[in-house]
Every structure is written in structure tokens, then in C-alpha cells.
Symmetry: C2
Subunit: 306 residues, 2 copies
């Protein structure tokens, strides 16, 4: 899996940082992409990547501030115009349905694919799929703002070929059945159980994507031992008072969350336009003092989830 950062700025678009949007490539056989937030001109950013809007199957909205949603009507509309026919589900806080439906109705936009809008007000399990579960919890942002913990289910272990050979099990299509854990009757009459020939399951990845928030223990809970934590860092450590006033976090507060949660990697986004590109290094450095595996991301950064 990998992440493509489509917008890493905060509040208003700037020349080099667009407003929020993040694509998670989930590596299923359809090549599906899940989008997290969709600020204005997200579809324009996508034009400069290899991402295809029709591959976007789910869009999660953390909160309803304009810099996180004003790109939705255009993206939904263009996805249809560009031939998208597979269903798309938008998950977001209460209000997202009215916003999308009004925008599409007033503009007489009729999308040609099934568009499902699921609003959530309560915390908890938002989604349970074959390969993933997504849990949402409320953060602290003056408006309902959610954080998401995306848990990939464990992947089945590999077939233990050494053991297969030791047992003199011949090659053939039954090896695939063994790998799937099934019981197989061999040509010599022996019955062998898949479970005896499969290695330990491979741990699924945990990805934590948080909406805008002040420092809160809820973030730590959502990020517990995450492989990657995407956290806003609207302000530098020295601007902690501003961060508090505007319900945002500093670099150091985000790093503190990653540290307490024992996450593997911290990606800082939602950087205020008040910081010039040359200030970014110092933003990163102050976070690294607390949590060393930290990167301040830029628009169009692609980060593999390891």
C-alpha cells in the first residue's frame, strides 16, 4: 500500500500547498483508491498524478470545513464525465449529504455511477470489509472532526514448501487448496490438512489518519502502534497558543502523539501558509527531537507503507 498526498496545506490554497486531500492506494485487485478529505482543486491535483478518478471507490471526510470538502462536487462530477461507472461511497459527518446533494442538484449534475453517501454522527466501527476495518473517533476541533484507524486484516501465511517436500506431497493444483487451509486427499490416499502447511499470518498494516485537532489522548488511542500516523501540524512549536486558539496542533504535539502511541512513522501535513518552504526543515527538526521517524510531507509526495 502507499499514500499520495494531494494537498498538504491549511485553510486556504497556496501556490505550493493545496488544501487537504490524501489518497490511500489499498492494493486490491481493482487498484482501488480511498480518498481522505477533498479540498477545492483536488481533481486538479489528480491531473498531475497517475491516479484515475474512476479508481476512487471510497471518500472519507474528517470534518466539514471548506478546505476539506469544497472539491467534492467537482470531483464527483468529473469522475462521471470521465467514464466512472463503478459505485462510490462518501463517508462523512452529518451535513455532508446535504452539501453534496444540494451542489449536484443546483448544478443539474447527474452522475452516471451509484453514489452512496453515509453520514456518521457516532464514534465506532464505520466500516467492516473483507480486508479492512475502519474505526472513527471524535477529535477536538470546535466542529465534529474525526480521526480514522484503518486496520488491514492479517494476510494468510505462506505455504511452507520445505514441509510440503518433507511430507512427499507432490506438486499440483491441490497445493493451492492446502495454501487456502483446506483438507486435501492425495492420490496415495493420505488426507493432509492445509493448516499444518501454512506459516504464521502476516500482520496487516495499521494506518491512522486524523482530521484537524488539538492535542488529545483520543489521537494516541487511534494511533496505537500504527505503521503510519498522518497528523496535522498547522503550527510550529513556538505558536502553541495560536494552535490552541484555532483548535489545531503544533509539530511537537503531533510528535508527542506518535511517541505515546508507539507508532512506527509520523507524517506531518496541513502546514500553515505562514511558514515558508525554507521554514519546513525546522518544523521537521523540532518534531524529530520528540519522535525521530517524522517527515513533513509536500504535495505530490508518495509514501509507501512499510
Amino acid at each position: 500500500m502507499k499514500l499520495t498526498f494531494l494537498g498538504t496545506g491549511s485553510g486556504v490554497p497556496a501556490k505550493h500547498r493545496n488544501v487537504s486531500s490524501l489518497a490511500l492506494h489499498i492494493d486490491d485487485k481493482e487498484g482501488s483508491v480511498w480518498l481522505f478529505d477533498c479540498g477545492e482543486a483536488t481533481q486538479h491535483q489528480i491531473l498531475h498524478t497517475s491516479l484515475k478518478p474512476r479508481k476512487i471507490s471510497k471518500i472519507f471526510i474528517t470534518h466539514l470545513h471548506g478546505d476539506h470538502i469544497f472539491g467534492l462536487p467537482g470531483l464527483l462530477s468529473s469522475r462521471s464525465f470521465q467514464g466512472g461507472e463503478t459505485p462510490l461511497t462518501v463517508y462523512g459527518p452529518v451535513g455532508i449529504k446535504e452539501y453534496i446533494e444540494t451542489s449536484l442538484r443546483v448544478s443539474m449534475t447527474h452522475v452516471k455511477y451509484p453514489l452512496i453517501i453515509k453520514e456518521f454522527e457516532e464514534e465506532g466501527l464505520l466500516l467492516e470489509e473483507a480486508d479492512f476495518t475502519i474505526k472513527g473517533k471524535k477529535l477536538v476541533h470546535g466542529i465534529s472532526s474525526f480521526g480514522f484507524r484503518i486496520v488491514q486484516k492479517d494476510l494468510p501465511g505462506a505455504l511452507l514448501m520445505d514441509k510440503v517436500k518433507q511430507s512427499n506431497i507432490p506438486s499440483g493444483p491441490h497445493l493451492q487448496e492446502l495454501k487456502e487451509g483446506k483438507s486435501v486427499t492425495l492420490s496415495d490416499g493420505r488426507i493432509v490438512e492445509g493448516i499444518d502447511y501454512i506459516g504464521p499470518p502476516k500482520k496487516g498494516k495499521v494506518i491512522t489518519i486524523l482530521g484537524d485537532t488539538r492535542y488529545t489522548p483520543v489521537s494516541v488511542e487511534l494511533a496505537e502502534e500504527a505503521d503510519v500516523l498522518i497528523h496535522e501540524a498547522t503550527f510550529a512549536a513556538k505558536d502553541e497558543m495560536l494552535a490552541r486558539e484555532y483548535f489545531h496542533s503544533t509539530t511537537v504535539q503531533a510528535a508527542q502523539v506518535a511517541k505515546e502511541a508507539r507508532a512506527n512513522q509520523l507524517l506531518l501535513s496541513h502546514i500553515s501558509a505562514r511558514y515558508q518552504q525554507e521554514d519546513v526543515l525546522s518544523l521537521m527538526e523540532e518534531a524529530k527531537e520528540i519522535f525521530s521517524n517524522t517527515v513533513v510531507v509536500n504535495d505530490f509526495d508518495v509514501i509507501p507503507i512499510k
Copy 2:
């Protein structure tokens, strides 16, 4: 006066042509800008010009299709964020008020300037100001789509200095009064009338900006002897059937309007992304065969109104 083209594409954004928006710099003492349509990422385009969002005092919407309005909530919001405090009026077809108010309410956007939204359903005089009148008429686009005739009022004539000297009128502040058409008593007792010393008024400019439309005589009426006509040309002449089907115009149909209206200059915009940048020359050539003073405009073109 001059025009800045912020988006000259059609339907969906492309790398080199954004969706519709056009700025008219009206050269008043405040340096006001009037915007015509506001497709998604208009505020992003503005970032690459010297235009200041707080200078935008009026926004006119030709019709409610997404590629003409989806940039409104973001622009209205950023104008406030960037310190805009003077009033802004949005004029548009019925529905624009619901779209804007829902977008701002759901996203909890509170703009800090007076925002006035005026919907028009009927044709006629939309606006009468000290220096301008704007008339709107309905075009043919399958949805209410308006064309605007912006008429600058005639400018007062210059003071005829030769005649002033002939009459032995001495210099002094009373010359300004004469220029304003007032009656002035000179130091030698003579009473002179301004009207006798002012040249003919300078003709105001006529600017015709049309929303999306099929060819229609209404366009000709709106563009009659206009100094500049901005007309959509979504399709090439050979794609006339497509133009008809989708309620759009071809290059040649737009040129026909300019010719019948005896306009001075034709600017073609709203170019479909199906035409590559290298096709644009032939789009322009086929229009020029009908109306020679034609230009196909590009994003960021600045065109003075002569």
C-alpha cells in the same frame, strides 16, 4: 478597462485550461474587479495573477452548471480569510443563493464582509450604477443561461482649451467648474456656461459576455456593436452536430454572431479539452474566415478593451 481570463476550458478542468472564470477590471478609483463565472479553482488561478480577491466587488454567474460555480464557496471564504471587508454582491440565476448559503452553512464558514446574493429569473436591466448598466437576456443552453451586455456610460467631453483662450477666460480653479458643465462668473463680471466649452462626450465601452449557448439571435442582440464580445466556442465547425446536441456553439457560429452584431472584437473561450493546444490555431482560423478580428483566448490572457 481590461479582461483577465482565469479559465478558458469547458466542462472539466484540463492541465492547461481551467473551467470558466473571467475578470473584468473596471478602472474605477477603487480598482474594482467584476468576476464572470467562478469554476472550481478560480481562486487557485488568481494566485498566479496580480489580482486581489478583496478587489472583487461583484460576481456575475451566467448559469448554474458546475464548471461555472463550483469555485464560489472557496473564493468567498478565502476573500474573507485574506482580509476582504468591503461588500461583495453575487448575481446569478435562481438557485445560486441556495447553493452558496448551503455550502457556507454546512462548512461553518462565516465571511467577515457583507455578502449580498441577488437572484434573477427575468430578463432585463440587472444593474444600473453611476458608470454602468448591465442588461441580461436568456440564451439557449437547456438550463437558464444568461448573456450580459455591460454598457459603460458615456464619459464627459474634454474642456475645449482653444475656445477658452479665444474667449480670454483666465486660468484658475473655475476651469474645473466649467469642465463640469457649471455656470461661472468671471472676475470681469462675465457669466460663462460650461456647456459652451466642453467637447462631445466620449463613448463608453460595450462589453458582451455570454454564458454557454447554442447559436441564437439573442446573442446578436446582446452583442450589437459591442467593443468586445466574449463567446463560447466549445466545438470546432466540423462538430456542429455535437454542439447542437450539447447546447453549445462552434467557432464559426460564434463568429457569425460577432459579424451579424457588427462587434469590434471576438474573444473565443470555453474550448473543449478534446482539442489539443496545436488544434487551437485552426479553431481560430476557421472563425477568422467569418469574422477577422477573432482571438481564441488562453488561461491568464490579459486583453485590454480598446
